[in-house]
């Protein structure tokens, strides 16, 4: 039995890579749903053999698949995501009101407490919940009905709810992020929400104190430190020590503070990882060098390069395409739009390719199997 299972969503299907604890020799199965965009796959922390996958394209719309045998076989399950209240409007790119319209699921977040419960973050931005394993979905409309909802405006990738963070110690707390609306927190299980954007600065927003409009790319939380959040914003890497109530910038000496991913070492809640991208106009690493940067809490960063291409590399790493395992020596994983999936079995010091020629990678999740 493998010790690690990597769930890889790509532009043309899903792949599953498995390895023993050494994480040097990998078997890859797939493609599953070949030829179709798979935005995200994620397994239940309570039952790792239960995995959900989001298939979405312009031809056939949203299809949700679930496996109950670790990805060997799949079945299509509920794919009806109906907004709970009259959808209303958000802002379109030109500032005009635009009707809310469901397009796709960007992210699944299974519950820590119930293997039949999971959340789905969708475009146009809303949060849905299922309590029957994904057979049916109900919107937690308090988020979309937030008083700022009519001001939300899509980023270039759409008005997507892409980050859902559950607090394993407090089931009532949920953190979400939406491009390009910002970040939100609920302390009552998703009924009501507050913006958590104080301290975020976005040069494209005329109001320096803007409550919404921030293009948050991803947020990470270590399960043992739920009040500490790390954020990769459109520009700026940010940190909060009060569950998002206030933020401060920790970009420090990064070569670029633009990027998409941020993640946290499994056993050291202060050790964080980002992959700097040159700019919002040039979505590839600075100088053609693919470098992960590691920091103890922020501000001071070190480049991790061993085993990663250090010339002629012009790929991107998308927001859901980094993950960590929880083996004794923490493994760090990420996938690229060039179809590479890398692992560092030693916390970032050394990297090797799990795969080098997959379709463009949209998401990477890791399951540590007992």
């Amino acid at each position: 039995m493998p010790n690690v299972r990597v769930l890889i969503g790509t532009h043309k299907g899903a792949f599953i890579a498995t390895s023993d604890a050494g994480r040097k020799n990998w078997n890859i199965s797939g493609p599953f749903f070949g030829g179709l965009p798979i935005y995200h796959l994620k397994g239940s922390p309570l039952n790792p053999d239960r995995i959900w996958a989001s298939q979405t394209d312009d031809w056939f719309g949203q299809v949700v698949h679930r496996s109950d045998d670790g990805g060997k076989t799949w079945a299509a399950i509920g794919n009806e995501f109906a907004y709970a209240s009259k959808p209303g409007t958000h802002q379109w790119y030109d500032g005009t009101p635009h009707p809310w319209d469901f397009k796709r699921v960007w992210h699944f977040e299974p519950s820590y407490h119930d293997a039949d419960t999971l959340y789905a973050g969708v475009e146009d931005a809303a949060l849905f919940k299922s309590t029957d394993g994904g057979a049916t979905w109900a919107e937690l409309a308090g988020l979309r009905d937030h008083r700022t909802g009519s001001q939300w405006m899509p980023g270039a990738g759409g008005l997507c709810l892409h980050t859902i963070i559950l607090d394993p110690q407090n089931p009532q707390r949920i953190v979400t992020a939406i491009s390009a609306a910002g970040a939100f927190r609920s302390d009552d299980g998703g009924e009501t929400w507050k913006t958590i954007t104080k301290g975020l600065k976005s040069n494209f927003l005329p109001d320096p104190e803007a409550e919404v409009g921030h293009c948050v790319h991803h947020i990470a939380m270590h399960p043992s430190h739920p009040n500490v959040l790390f954020m990769q914003k459109h520009w700026d890497v940010m940190r909060s020590d009060d569950a998002g109530d206030t933020w401060r910038e920790i970009s420090g000496n990064l070569p670029s503070d633009f990027g998409f991913v941020v993640d946290i070492h499994a056993h050291d809640p202060q050790t964080i990882y980002v992959v700097p991208i040159k700019s919002d106009s040039e979505h590839y690493p600075p100088d053609g060098k693919l470098r992960v940067y590691r920091s103890k809490g922020g501000d001071e960063w070190e480049a991790l390069t061993q085993g990663l291409p250090q010339k002629d590399c012009y790929v991107n790493v998308l927001r859901d395409a980094m993950a960590v395992d929880t083996l004794d020596e923490c493994g760090v994983y990420f996938g690229t739009t060039g179809g590479q999936v890398y692992v560092s079995p030693d916390g970032g010091d050394n990297w090797l390719a799990i795969a080098e020629n997959l379709p463009a990678v949209k998401s990477v999740e890791v399951q540590t199997l007992k």
């Binding site: 030829g35 179709l36 312009d58 031809w59 056939f60 719309g61 949203q62 299809v63 079945a75 299509a76 794919n79 009806e80 109906a82």
Partner: protein, 98 residues
């Protein structure tokens, strides 16, 4: 029996290898054929037409007897050749590269 041809990815989703045959009560219409199709293959719900509005997905078209009937009312009777199973109702996806 009414015959329905599905695009490749929907055949995979429905786990069928070729045409689907369906019992459809007269009058045979696109809406009735799709109702029967989704009843027999519930995994196809939402992939050809919207769950609630029943509006055809923009990148799909319906063809019958060499005619594009995508913009005909979905409650209009289909040609006798389709209703009698001599010709299939074709659900076709838009061509795209990349």
């Amino acid at each position: 029996m009414v015959r329905v041809q599905l695009p490749y990815h929907l055949r995979n989703l429905a786990r069928v290898s070729s045409e689907v045959e369906l019992e459809v009560a007269a009058p045979v219409t696109v809406a009735r054929v799709l109702d029967a199709l989704e009843a027999a293959y519930p995994m196809l719900r939402g992939t050809i037409r919207d769950h609630a509005s029943k509006q055809r997905r923009a990148y799909l078209r319906y063809f019958a007897c060499q005619q594009d009937i995508s913009f005909e009312p979905t409650d209009a009777p289909l040609p006798a050749a389709v209703a009698e199973g001599r010709e299939p109702l074709i659900v076709m996806g838009a061509i795209a590269g990349g």
